[in-house]
């Protein structure tokens, strides 16, 4: 296998950033107490290869706000028309330091925004996705919020990654998954190594077998949903931290009354306003209805429609929930019903 020393990582990042590519990497936010987030890497700044990021890496592909196009109202010879200014797709992003739970979420996002078998390609997403290189850090340790062993090959999953780095003494063993990965390990920053891959973490598990149907059976059991969501405060944190949640809102923002831009921002089904209809009716007035949708979309509707579970077991929603909600307890309560 190939090996890269820890102190060669900055040079690898410099190489990756060549040609104007944006390299997203885990970094401690300025003026914060250990808040580790994926952010565009700036030469000379350290990256965190050993820390958990508090939000997922999805902003690399789905920015919290994306300008879809600009528009302006023009008046020529007494006639009014609207001129659109399309947004150029961004390309050539590199995601460095993703975890297996980030990388495997790409399959779910791709299924909707950039489906392999054809269908609608979202221009912004497709542009960023087709130029994306994903370098994943394998996990040799985990914490009590991790539960990725519940899905597929767990910490040994390679889907979604181009190159996987396994932490060993003083550096990382590098295993290419795609051609892009193979090309990288040919760089002279990497050397051959006789070392074996380290043992990977074994995380907590939830049982997802039969959950798709079970959820439908329990849909009308509102007492269950009230009970499992009683702690929830209905903020959007879990959806925004999740690598697989991808709901959005589309709206226009004007500057003056002649021009503006159409934007897409993250949205969350935990918000009351998410399903509020113009009439004033809200089909999901209670937190229980909204939390039920969160579970249903992840473990029942999306798997039925697109073949992917919208959860990778990253545990971010558990670590950061201000109210102490643990999605595993909810799944277990549903499975035991």
């Amino acid at each position: 296998m190939r090996f890269i020393a820890e102190d060669a990582i900055p040079r690898l990042l410099e190489h990756l950033a060549g040609g104007g590519r944006t390299v997203w990497a885990p970094r401690v936010a300025r003026d914060s107490v250990n808040t580790v987030l994926f952010a565009p890497w700036i030469a000379g700044e350290p990256v965190e290869t050993g820390a958990y990021t508090h939000l997922s890496a999805k902003a690399t592909l789905l920015p919290p706000t994306e300008r879809l196009f600009g528009f302006s109202y023009l008046q020529t010879a007494g006639e009014e028309r609207i001129e659109l200014e399309p947004e150029e797709p961004e390309e050539n992003h590199v995601l460095f330091g993703a975890r297996v739970c980030d990388a495997r979420a790409l399959a779910a996002l791709d299924a909707l925004f950039f489906p392999a078998g054809g269908g609608f390609n979202d221009p912004g997403y497709a542009g960023r996705r087709s130029g994306l290189t994903v370098i994943t850090l394998a996990c040799t340790t985990c914490d009590s919020a991790c539960f990725c062993s519940s899905f597929g090959k767990g910490p040994a999953e390679t889907d979604g990654s181009d190159l996987i780095l396994y932490p060993v003494a003083n550096g990382f063993l590098a295993e290419p998954v795609t051609d892009a990965g193979s090309e990288l390990v040919r760089l002279d920053l990497f050397q051959d190594s006789p070392l074996d891959k380290p043992e990977l973490a074994v995380t907590d598990r939830i049982e997802t077998a039969g959950l798709r149907e079970k959820f439908i059976d329990l849909f009308s059991d509102i007492d269950l949903w009230r009970q499992v969501s009683e702690k929830c405060l209905s903020c959007g944190f879990c959806a925004y931290a999740c690598p697989a949640c991808h709901c959005f809102n589309i709206f226009d923002e004007m500057s003056g009354d002649r021009e503006g831009e159409r934007c897409r921002s993250w949205d969350s089904c935990m918000f009351y306003s998410y399903t509020l209809e113009t009439s004033g009716h809200n089909p999901r007035p209670e937190i229980a209805h909204r939390y039920r949708n969160r579970i249903g979309h992840k473990f029942s509707y999306f798997p039925a429609n697109r073949g992917e579970i919208l959860c990778t077991g990253c545990g971010r929603c558990i670590r950061g929930c201000p109210a102490g909600v643990d999605i595993r307890e909810v799944i277990r309560a549903v499975q035991e019903r």
């Binding site: 003026d31 919290p64 706000t65 923002e253 670590r319 201000p322």
Partner: protein, 309 residues
């Protein structure tokens, strides 16, 4: 206070209410998480320790149709009083169980330094985590230093001697507050721009705040009025937070829940502490101290004060 005192008190209160809001230990996180106790059996899981950071008063306006018992630290009790003063909660449908609080730990900071779910033990004036330890003063929430509110201002029953605790000493002078205080106005501008650049507008600050009761009708998420744009960026996020902050003028009890809830660690209390200081200076008023008080900025009377001009 022993856990048995607490459990016995909760059971007693359960005889006259539908549910008691308290804490239990999460097996995964190893710390306290909010819990609802409906039956005496459930109440056997109740705990109180220095990881009971959540302000459970936030749930009271959401339980309008039940008789509710609530376990409250001194600071939480101020939120309850403020909710009653504002008519959000009626006094006669709640029972408050006061607990002696020696100050609560900044669990998120502990996790960010030592790892999520690591066992936190608070004993002998030190907080122990995974073989390491530090003086508890170094990892308490800011509000707990020199706390003036340890004895709950509203209480029906006490679990333990709420007068027995001594407030922790002042914080050391190396924290973000001291650095912020030393900044020029231009530096503060840059500081907030940087801080709000990582806001994702998840509104955890709003939902965790007991007094932020507009919730589902919040102006930060409406198109009419269109006070903040829908874009997630530092300018809109700061505007949204300024709206929230000014709406809490004279109402914020300083419980620090917004800052604790913030998933990206924005020090929101810098804004609220300064506003609370100004309110106290102008009106000699601290929110949530007495059921008889009127909140200064809620005293405007359209008939007496001449109406809108």
């Amino acid at each position: 206070m022993s856990m048995n005192d607490l459990i016995a008190t909760i059971k007693k209160v359960l005889e006259e209410v539908d549910v008691v809001l308290g804490w239990t230990r999460s097996p995964a996180a190893g710390v306290a998480v909010p819990a609802r106790f409906h039956t005496p059996d459930e109440a056997d899981g109740a705990i109180f320790d220095s990881t009971c950071t959540h302000n459970l008063a936030v749930h009271l306006p959401r339980l309008k149709n039940s008789k509710v018992g609530i376990v409250a630290k001194g600071c939480d009790a101020r939120s309850i009083v403020q909710l009653i003063v504002e008519g959000e909660v009626s006094r006669d449908r709640i029972r408050v169980i006061g607990v002696p609080c020696p100050g609560v730990i900044d669990v998120k900071r502990a996790w960010r330094c030592f790892g999520f779910g690591k066992k936190i033990e608070d004993a002998g004036g030190r907080v122990h985590m995974e073989g390491r330890s530090m003086p508890r003063e170094e990892i308490l929430l800011h509000k707990c230093h020199q706390c003036q509110d340890q004895e709950p201002v509203i209480m029906d029953l006490a679990a333990g001697d709420v007068k027995s605790v001594t407030p922790p000493p002042p914080p050391d002078k190396t924290g973000i507050r001291e650095r912020f205080a030393a900044m020029s106005i231009a530096e503060r501008r840059e500081f907030w721009r940087e801080q709000f650049s990582r806001c994702i507008r998840c509104y955890a600050c709003r939902e965790a705040c007991p007094l932020c009761f507009c919730r589902d009708a919040c102006s930060m998420q409406t198109r009419e009025p269109h006070w903040t744009g829908g874009q997630v960026n530092a300018i809109e996020s700061e505007m949204a937070q300024q709206v929230r902050t000014s709406h809490l003028a004279g109402r914020c009890t300083g419980c620090e829940e917004c800052e604790r809830a913030c998933p990206v660690g924005i020090p929101l209390m810098l804004l609220l502490e300064e506003q609370n200081r100004i309110v106290e200076e102008l009106f000699a008023y601290r929110a949530g101290m007495s059921l008889e008080d009127k909140t200064p900025l809620l005293t405007y009377d359209v008939n007496r004060d001449g109406g809108w001009r």
